[in-house]
Amino acid sequence: MSRLLVWLDDRLGVVTLFKDSMSEKRPPRGIGWLRTLGFAALTILVLQVLSGLAIAMHYVPSTGLAYDSIRALEQDVPGGRFARALHYFGASAFVIAMALHMARVFFTGAYKAPREFTWLTGVGLFVLVLAFGFTGYLLPWDQKAYFATKVGTQIAGKAPVIGEHIRQILNGGDEVGSPTLTRFYVIHVVLLPLALFGLLLAHMLLIQRHGVAPPGLKVTDPGEPGEPYFPHHTAKEAAVGALVAGVLFWLAATQSAPLEAVAEPSDTGYDPRPDWYFAGLFQLLKIFKGPLEPLGTFWLPNALLVGLALLPFLDRNPERHWRKRPFITIVGVTVIAFAVLCTWIGVDDKPKNTKQLNYPLGLTEIQKEGYRLVRRLKCTECHKQGDVGKTDHDAPDLDRIDQPPDMVAAILEDPLGTIESEDMPDFAHIDATSRYTIGVYLQWLHASMHGKK
């Protein structure tokens, strides 16, 4: 050891730590590529932190600007579109890597004594990653964000006794709105990362303390030590990490994260669908009808979670090999098959209505408010706009309406008295300012489509 390393080790203990945990640590014989899945998840975590940091620098957590801040990130920020796509695909990859890692630990019986708490912290990490996914959903404030959060917080509200309190706390009020966005942002970028790194530290220290479980042996059999952890197994981990990162970089380079039209709570033409990793739960909710409904929303998902957490304490069989403990293996395979099946059917249930009127970046607040009203009042039920709306109606396309804002406001108030239209319903019940705002938006729309000032 060089004198500098000795000097550093005296003060920081890093070289000793490296020796103890890496270069002189000898995990049991027979551990292979399947033992790299946890490291794959760790690699994704690093990518999520970095891409998330880049996004957070440009994101504005307010209902008025969140959606546009995401579009500005994608359109104007160098690497912004890539960062968001990486974060989006990384979230899915994170869930996949953790599920596979958990399945590996399950089938190799590695959760058994003395590693019960390693498993328990792992289950905690899995729940946190799902919570990251759920809170991250809302932040772009598009249609999917709004409705998925609405459904999600309603599910939380189904918990007995305290459910309604949890829902109120999550929403920051009665309903999903601007306080919810602030809360979810804080949960996503402050609370969950703190919890995640705390649990991850515990998970790693426990792995360090108990080492890798020897494959196929009884819990009492420590097995024979194999090659040192470093560099042999770490080389495998590095290869897997590079592969995972490579795939994610390629995905993010070639595809963008989806973004639907801006959230509009009154949009009844929308069919909410969750991302694939909640599609299983989505499907489960459809199965239980009427009085059995709490079974799907609360009891079954939570029983599964509690069962998962308590697994090492319930399963006292000293055998690790899956063939020597057929009961728990069959239970595991059944649960996994059910989860995969539900997810498959859930993903396959595609929404019917996907087209919504949208607006580009660069509108003033008044123009945006007019746009929102046009969606809210469902003008496209009769007036077509691009590929949105009805085609069988003889009302003019929205962009063809070439009237000054005050005229539009007057027509909206009294279509019969102004343009002698008996087909058009009147909008006398909305206030005059709102009617004028619609006119401002339509004026902008006409100018932007037909180049007239």
């Binding site: 409705f147 309603q154 601007s178 709570p265 009154s266 009844t268 909410p272 239980f288 409904e293 319903p425």
Partner: protein, 161 residues
Amino acid sequence: MSEPTTRRSLLTTLTLALGAIPIVGGFFVALRAALAPAATTKPTRIPLCRLDQVPDTGIVERAIAYQVRQGPSVENVAKVVFLTRDPSTRAVIAMAGECTHLACPVHIHKDKEGPPLQCPCHGGKFSATGEVVDGPPPRPLRRLTLEVPQDGKGMIYVVNA
């Protein structure tokens, strides 16, 4: 095998307990503010539509729009309301457009087949008056309290939406 309590050991225990006060106290102070909901104010009487816009048969969809203050922001909120008439009394019925299962937006089902109000999420189906016909919803669609003009014309208002 507890050691006898001496003045010294008692004082040590008490001092340790003293150290917990700022942590526990700070925790509760922070938690209380962190979990408090945003102050919300919304109107108590919202115009819905004119009485002559409610058809004699079938269901129409209307939106009520109003402003809500939540904490610092005042936002325009719009909610979907389904309007129909009670088959026997002909009284106007207004139902909130949120599914009672998990609050997805209920649609008017335009095909002849099947119940007229359906939820696109988890398969909830409702009758024209909002009763559950099929699927997971535990309750009928929520009825809104209305203020209907007595003279048979004029604006219907939603009270306490």
